[in-house]
Amino acid sequence: MRVDGIDTSSFRDPSGFLFWKDRQLYRQVNKTYQEEYDLLMASGLYSALTNAGLIILHEEVAMEPLCPGLAYRIIKPEIIPFVSYPYEWCFSQLKDAALTTLAVQTRALEHGMVLKDCSAYNIQFKKCKPVFIDTLSFERYHEGQPWVAYRQFCQHFLAPLSLMSKKDIRLSQLLRIYLDGIPLDLASSLLPFHTYLSFPLLSHMHAHARSQRHFADKIVDVSGQKMSRLSFRGLVDNLESAVKDMKWQPGGTEWATYYKGTNYSAEAFQRKGHLVAEYLDMIKPTNVWDLGANTGMFSCLASNKGISTISFDIDPAAVERNYLECKARGETDILPLLIDLTNPSPGIGWQNRERMSLISRGPADTVLALALIHHLAISNNVPLEQIAAFFSTICNSLIIEFVPKSDTQVQRLLSTREDIFKDYNKLTFEDRFSRYFKIRDSVAIRDSERTLYLMEKCEN
């Protein structure tokens, strides 16, 4: 949150902290971290990482530190336009984040440093690519030392990836409960038996969990235990192979036909695209949130105009496909994310302020809500008034499609339940939304029974 003072997520590491001043983000490097920071900059590691696009850029600035007694340097990191969290990523996003972390670790060791933590929250997506954001996560490598961040890597990356890949994709949501990664005993107990036959999972997950249990509450003297540099490199290489081998494909679906279940004619679909593009040209938003984006077909209309777009969907398969397609075509203006709008990410962690809620990361300049309203109003029983109120908290303008009861998609939703939605009609929709928005334009989509609206939030 861009309130002047220390960032609410930055308090664990005594090496420094992030703070906001005049809506600008800075990082204070504390004196205790002076030697490590100087080594990061002087060893060539920072240059190597920035040249490879693996770490966020920063510049040293001359300004009054927030805590002058502790301060060594103040740096100004590049801003990430939209902060996202591991429980909002699809499988391949988490996998790419893991590989980025290991690539950073490999380069660090080449320059005589190691990562002292391996939190998945140290990764953010910038232009659809994962980038390491914690400049203070490095420390000098001492010959013989094991990797202090190994446990955290397994909990933050290997456990969720193996559960998503081998058990159930929805288990990624455990990351929302366990902020320091999924406990390995839990992951081990959930993984299917055949994972014992895979060396990486047998060792890094099952044996690791057993070892943790064995040494729990024991006072252990580890003096004399050393790990050679070769073993260190072997460990990181083995983790990298394990992550690369993780695969997930939506079961029982063919991606090519994944979202053919629409009642649009090809012409109506194309017409809808033109209308959305025209509306975007009219309002020229600085950023767009596409809610219920499916595989991001309409998000592309915004990104093609150079508009930074977050493409949200509830379906892990749709988000996965969207991300992989964005990667394949080198998309830089779309960030696909997994969000259940009926239960969007809350503020969690220490004081409920460590990880921001979805709403507190807004508002978006424009929200696209296409073929969405019936899912909220009918599948989730949310009154139109509340839907309108919610949208008014997350955007300045709204491009929304009304899907009437006569539409086959709505008929499908009503086919197995009683129709208790007497107020679900176009007139009521317009009335409820007019309480929060000014309807600037509306147009019936030819060859369908749907209507597209362009709305602007009422002042106050």
């Binding site: 664990r12 590491d13 005594p14 090496s15 205790t32 002292k116 933590d117 420390e139 000098r140 001492h142 013989g144 030392q145 094991p146 990797w147 202090v148 961040a149 190994y150 446990r151 955290q152 397994c154 060792s203 890094h204 044996a207 690791h208 070892s211 943790q212 249990r213 064995h214 040494f215 729990a216 509450d217 024991k218 006072i219 252990v220 003297d221 580890v222 003096s223 004399g224 235990q225 050393k226 790990m227 050679s228 070769l230 073993s231 260190f232 490199r233 072997g234 460990l235 290489d237 083995n238």
Partner: protein, 61 residues
């Protein structure tokens, strides 16, 4: 679950996170094994590169 960890001279770093004794010990065991595999893998890659280079008339592989 509490893990009590006694630092030694070898662990000279200044850790703000608990690395976990169980995690350290299993890491040492896995590291000893995969370190050897890593060495073999590296030699294998070098040999593969050598032959590729040989059959590609010295072009960089």
């Amino acid at each position: 679950m509490a893990i009590i960890f006694v630092p030694s001279d070898m662990f000279q770093g200044y850790y703000y996170l608990d690395p976990g004794s169980g995690s350290l010990f299993i890491q040492l065991a896995i590291g000893a094994f995969v370190g050897g595999l890593f060495l073999i893998k590296n030699y294998f890659v070098r040999i593969k590169c050598f032959f590729k280079k040989l059959f590609n008339n010295g072009k960089k592989v």
